[in-house]
Symmetry: C2
Subunit: 308 residues, 2 copies
């Protein structure tokens, strides 16, 4: 993959931005990458670990010569950042983002877009439970999807360059309507995260079972939930606030179904439970066949046995 941009600016230096940087360097997708983070501590860490070719203390310095500016901040901070950078954007440049919600980001960014700047909303479906500038790594996007969403003033040429940029980072790219994106992600990401947060919260707040029991005996299933419930709290607060309707719709369906299964347990309807559990197995098989998860037992966790 050859170079796509001369200068890219990353605004917000967390897991996604740092992974973009390392993935860019691996394949030389951009010549020069600048960075900015609101917190001085984050900027210092970035400088220390060599994250970005240049880290700026001022937002405008980071963006002013960039051909592509990627907003890697929580969804709720997008509009504020856009207002600040709009006057400094280079004519002919492109703005993109990595927000997990797309309609709200489009509504936040588009009204402030200078006429000679294009906006290409993007969402790489990749992440880990770790956050911050030191959590990124070059292979994060390999074989993951990056969804580019359509919107009112979409520009084909700018979209194609952003697509090539993401392919250069290792991702597969697809286009999707913004509202449909928000519904699909409510199913595959937002509702599961809220459910995981809830289960972990409940387990942590039961009088009759102690926290240390929950932790000790977590390998029986619970620990799987704790991974995504350890994701960045600010990012996730914003996801739920800005994808409210779709998330609540899916959670409503979830609760309805959960009540139905609870009734099956209460009434001893074993056939219903067996049918249900047999069917869900096939979804897992589909995901493994699509290369979106490993077939190794327990996700291939490789715990060292105790030596005592």
């Amino acid at each position: 993959m050859s170079r796509v941009y001369d200068r890219v600016a990353l605004i917000g230096l967390g897991l996604i931005a740092s992974s973009i940087f390392w993935a860019s360097k691996r394949k030389d997708v951009s010549v020069h990458i600048t960075g900015y983070a609101r917190s001085k501590e984050t900027r210092n860490t970035a400088r220390k670990i060599g994250l970005c070719d240049e880290v700026f203390d001022r937002l405008e310095d980071a963006v002013k010569d960039a051909d592509l500016v990627i907003l890697c901040v929580p969804v709720g901070a997008m509009e504020q950042v856009m207002l600040k950078i709009a006057p400094f954007l280079k004519a002919g440049s492109t703005i993109s983002d990595v927000g997990s919600v797309k309609r709200a980001v489009i509504d936040a960014v588009e009204p402030h877009l200078p006429t000679d700047v294009k906006f290409v909303p993007a969402h790489p479906l990749a992440g880990t439970e770790h956050s911050g500038p030191e959590s990124g790594f070059a292979s994060l996007f390999d074989n993951r999807w990056c969804l580019l969403t359509e919107h009112e003033s979409a520009d084909k040429k700018a979209q194609n360059k952003v697509m090539n940029f993401w392919k250069g980072l290792g991702a597969n790219v697809e286009f999707m309507d913004a509202d449909h994106h928000d519904l699909v992600l409510a199913v595959t990401s937002h509702a599961p995260h809220l459910i995981a947060y809830t289960m972990v919260g409940v387990a942590d707040d039961l009088g009759k079972v102690t926290d240390s029991e929950v932790i000790k005996y977590s390998a029986a299933g619970f620990r799987d939930f704790t991974r995504i419930a350890a994701s960045d709290p600010i990012m996730w607060r914003d996801v739920f606030l800005f994808n409210k309707d779709a998330t609540l719709e899916i959670l409503g369906r979830f609760t309805e179904e959960l009540f139905d299964l609870q009734r099956a347990i209460r009434t001893g309807n074993g056939d219903k439970l067996l049918d249900y559990f047999t069917h869900t197995r096939s979804v897992r098989r589909g995901i493994i066949e699509a290369g979106q998860d490993t077939d190794a037992p327990n996700f291939g966790r490789n715990l060292e046995p105790d030596v005592d």
Copy 2:
């Protein structure tokens, strides 16, 4: 660890029994291990892969000379198996099990126990989403907990031998009251499994989002749920039917909490969400510090990047 029993019989040859066999052989915890499975296909597979020193076609032949008989069948099948083997058990031998529910298994087994046979209920908190005779491996129990539960006619000497047997398989052993076990497991295992099954079922049955979209974009969180929702359907049907009260109690608490967070989303109460999500992070840290999960991002999944 030296030998604990001369002859052990495994009834039911799935993931747990096969892992017991391989772990026993690794440390020579028993001289001779016999096996029985109801299905001819399973018995043939076991013979083919060398699972058990001897596989019998008749239940009574497998148990008659055993010093320890371990019931590795679904919780709902325990009583039936116990009724069949009771007349053939050796005087002075011990019965144990690996059921995920303890009160129901005690109620099923104890009434049929010959006077000269001891019962030591056990539950190794270990497993994977795979099942069947070929899914076992020697390290499954390493650094995992095996809970032995107290009951009316508990025998200290028999308990100690079962404890040493499990330590020989690599597990840590702890004693726990049977009813408390069922509540702890409802939190750390049974409720999480039902919730995962439900989430996967919902995602698989939405008109507006296709199954192939769910599968393709599952890496954004959903795929974590599909692992435990791929667990053995019969085993899990029985867990819910036989640990009904504790599971429904925890699910009730879960639903209450989920409604509270849904209301926070609906009313835009970002502070509440942020507090909640910040707190759940610490549970994950506790689990990692306790050696019950890996700190590697994404559980250390090591996906091969696409080469196309």
